[in-house]
């Protein structure tokens, strides 16, 4: 199996799905002639032509709305946000239109549409370019939210998202585009709503997604040296959450650390913790610990940025806290 980067895995998914279904097209800023701001769409213009690989002006609200209308009329748009920070300009289209359409039309108009692009903090890009949007989108019924942590998952999950008949918010990460892994060639699907155990363990379950899974892996390796055996659970789809998998893991380890890149308050991590408390309280041997971004806009200064974000050290500390092994 070839070892490829995350960006190439995503590219394969797009290419395969566009080949499979003529109704799939991609639009966004710099996706065509520039080959994508992060090269995820590299070569697609040459392969499929300008009808299906479309450079847009900087009009997020306009082209996201266009995608909703095209989806209502039977096409299957993939919208690339150069980053999810800019999705805020289109948030009315995503929430009031894409998420609500099927329901408020009484089931007449579904929206088969994927919105994808990098989410979360980039390197040293400060306050307006570092938003984590998962908690916002996951709040509203009508959207699925997915966030792969590995190249293989990215490919299988994006293919599932494109085949879905409902709107999917697909969160990638700039710092993860060059992660490498063996990725199967050709068709395979990782279904929406299915999580994965990334490392089997017995002492504690770390629930983490997207780039935080890489940090959690490093933390798990460190902790193993001290005899703490960590299980790593990646929900992969953030909404709907794979509670079956979470239950299996928690029943085994009885301890939970939730790691997210986003902020502490009103967050997806808070929701994961709540779901565990509500459904699995009797299986817990200690309170859940959470690792998150501190409650300030992202600063530019290197030291302040590092202090704001979750880190391997913070994860290790949280694990020691729940396992009472300080």
């Amino acid at each position: 199996m070839p070892v490829i980067e995350m960006r190439e895995a995503l590219n394969q998914a797009l290419k395969e799905e566009m080949t499979r279904d003529e109704k799939v097209f991609i639009l966004g800023e710099e996706v065509a002639e520039y080959n994508g701001a992060y090269k995820v769409t590299k070569g697609l213009l040459d392969h499929f032509g300008p009808k299906r690989v479309i450079d847009t002006p900087i009009s997020e609200s306009g082209f996201t709305g266009l995608a909703v209308g095209a989806a209502m009329m039977g096409l299957r748009p993939v919208v690339e946000f150069m980053s999810f920070n800019f999705s805020l300009v289109a948030i009315d289209q995503i929430i009031s239109n894409a998420a609500k359409m099927y329901y408020m039309s009484g089931g007449l108009y579904n929206i088969p549409m994927v919105m994808r692009g990098p989410n979360g903090a980039g390197p040293r890009v400060s306050s307006q370019h570092s938003h984590n949007m998962e908690s916002v989108f996951a709040h509203f019924p009508g959207l699925h939210v997915m966030a792969p942590s590995t190249p293989r998952d990215a490919k299988g999950m994006l293919k599932a998202a494109i085949r879905c008949n409902d709107p999917v918010v697909f969160l990638e990460n700039e710092l993860a585009y060059n992660l490498k892994e063996e990725v199967p060639e050709g068709d395979f699907i990782i279904p929406i709503g299915k999580g994965d155990i990334k490392r089997e363990g017995t002492d504690v379950t770390i629930i983490a997604w997207s780039r935080m899974m890489s940090l959690a892996k490093t933390a798990a390796e460190e902790l193993a040296k001290d005899g703490i055996n960590v299980e790593l659970l990646d929900p992969r789809t953030l909404k709907p959450l794979d509670m079956d998998l979470i239950a299996q893991s928690v029943k085994k380890t009885n301890r939970v650390v939730v790691v997210e890149e986003g902020h502490f308050f009103s967050s997806l991590g808070a929701q994961v913790a709540e779901s565990v408390y509500t459904n699995l309280f009797d299986y817990l041997d200690s309170p859940i610990a959470r690792v998150y971004q501190s409650e300030n806009p992202m600063p530019y200064a290197a030291n302040l940025e590092a202090a704001t974000l979750p880190s391997v050290d913070k994860i290790i500390k949280a694990v020691r806290q729940v396992t009472y092994k300080a």
Partner: protein, 333 residues
């Protein structure tokens, strides 16, 4: 413009009766809905189309089956014009499962798939993208459909209009932007909200054609929109239409109308597009007084049937609560 006056003579008697029937259907439907609202059978917001009938009927007379239509929350008139059964419209207002959106959309969110009616939308300026998306699809599939995008004067100052006019002009999308200028956004007169109230002139900024039409005159709307729709269908170039019209009722039923005078409203009622069409048809011997009365009676009966149907229909069963959130069942949602 001489052709405008002759528009009615150029149309067949059958076509004119159909137009009048649509205008009266809207009028009586809306009047019945206001009554039902006062009886507390309808709740929430209720924005009626009374006074603006000539715009919708005169324009959508040129809609082909493959064309699509999207509009604001003031959506009942267009849906009925397209042929939505008044029963399913009224049932929607009553919040019944037999409604056109199964009682889940309500007054602001009528939809009709057979007519490509892509909805009534509640966010001012929220529907522009949907409209150009439908136009985009038409080019993608290389059919010859056009997309009718209706909006209020209040929406001309939303950024979405300008983004989507730019996109439509840039990409040659067959989008027909139709501003129904009833002179107010809620209680705000246009001059207090819009720096340049010559709305058609905004087209020029995007290299589009712009036209100003008297939206109270069915003949003018019908004839001019006939030419314009034909042109857009052929050239795939978007266009912006400024329809000058007026709403006789409040912004919604809860509006006391303190921001405009009774004289002003009455002056527009003298130009009532529905009455004008009926009058002209009699003058042109396209309908007799008796035939008109019979037609009015028949439409009133249809609307009463719709009200009865809505009243007797069941509410959505509780299982509907979580149905239609998603089309695909992905489990553990």
């Amino acid at each position: 413009m001489a052709s405008v006056k002759k528009e009615m003579q150029s149309l067949s008697k059958e076509k004119m009766v159909e137009i009048l029937e649509k205008m009266l259907t809207i009028r009586y439907f809306e009047e019945a809905s206001i009554k039902a609202y006062q009886q507390k059978k309808i709740a929430g917001f209720l924005h009626t189309y009374i006074g603006q009938e000539a715009v919708g009927v005169g324009t959508l007379s040129h809609k082909l089956p493959q064309d699509s239509v999207v509009t604001t929350y003031r959506c009942h008139g267009l849906a009925l014009t397209l042929g939505l059964d008044p029963k399913s419209g009224m049932a929607e207002l009553f919040g019944k499962v037999t409604g056109c959106a199964r009682g889940k959309g309500g007054s602001m969110h009528f939809f009709s798939k057979p007519h490509n009616f892509l909805g009534g939308h509640g966010i001012v300026g929220g529907q522009f993208g949907i409209g150009i998306g439908a136009a985009f699809k038409s080019n993608y599939d290389e059919d010859n459909a056009v997309s009718f995008i209706f909006f209020g004067d209040g929406a001309t100052v939303q950024g979405t209009l300008h983004e989507t006019m730019n996109l439509a002009a840039l990409w040659d999308l067959p989008a027909i932007f139709i501003c129904e200028d009833n002179q107010y956004g809620m209680g705000t007169a246009n001059a207090r909200a819009i720096a340049n109230t010559d709305i058609a002139s905004k087209a020029e900024a995007y290299g589009m054609k712009g036209h100003t039409l008297n939206g109270m005159d069915l003949n003018e709307v019908h004839s001019r929109m006939g030419e314009i729709v034909k042109e857009v269908r052929a050239t795939r170039r978007p266009v912006l239409i400024h329809m000058k019209t007026y709403r006789y009722t409040g912004h919604s039923v809860s509006d006391a109308g303190l921001y405009r005078s009774k004289e002003e409203v009455d002056s527009y009622k003298l130009k009532d597009p529905t009455l004008a069409v009926a009058r002209e048809m009699i003058e042109n011997k396209m309908i007799t007084e008796d035939e008109l009365k019979a037609l009015q009676k028949r439409i009133k009966a249809t609307i009463q049937e719709a009200v009865d149907f809505a009243e007797e229909s069941p509410e959505p069963p509780l299982e509907e609560l979580t149905q239609h959130v998603f089309m695909d069942d992905v489990g553990n949602a």
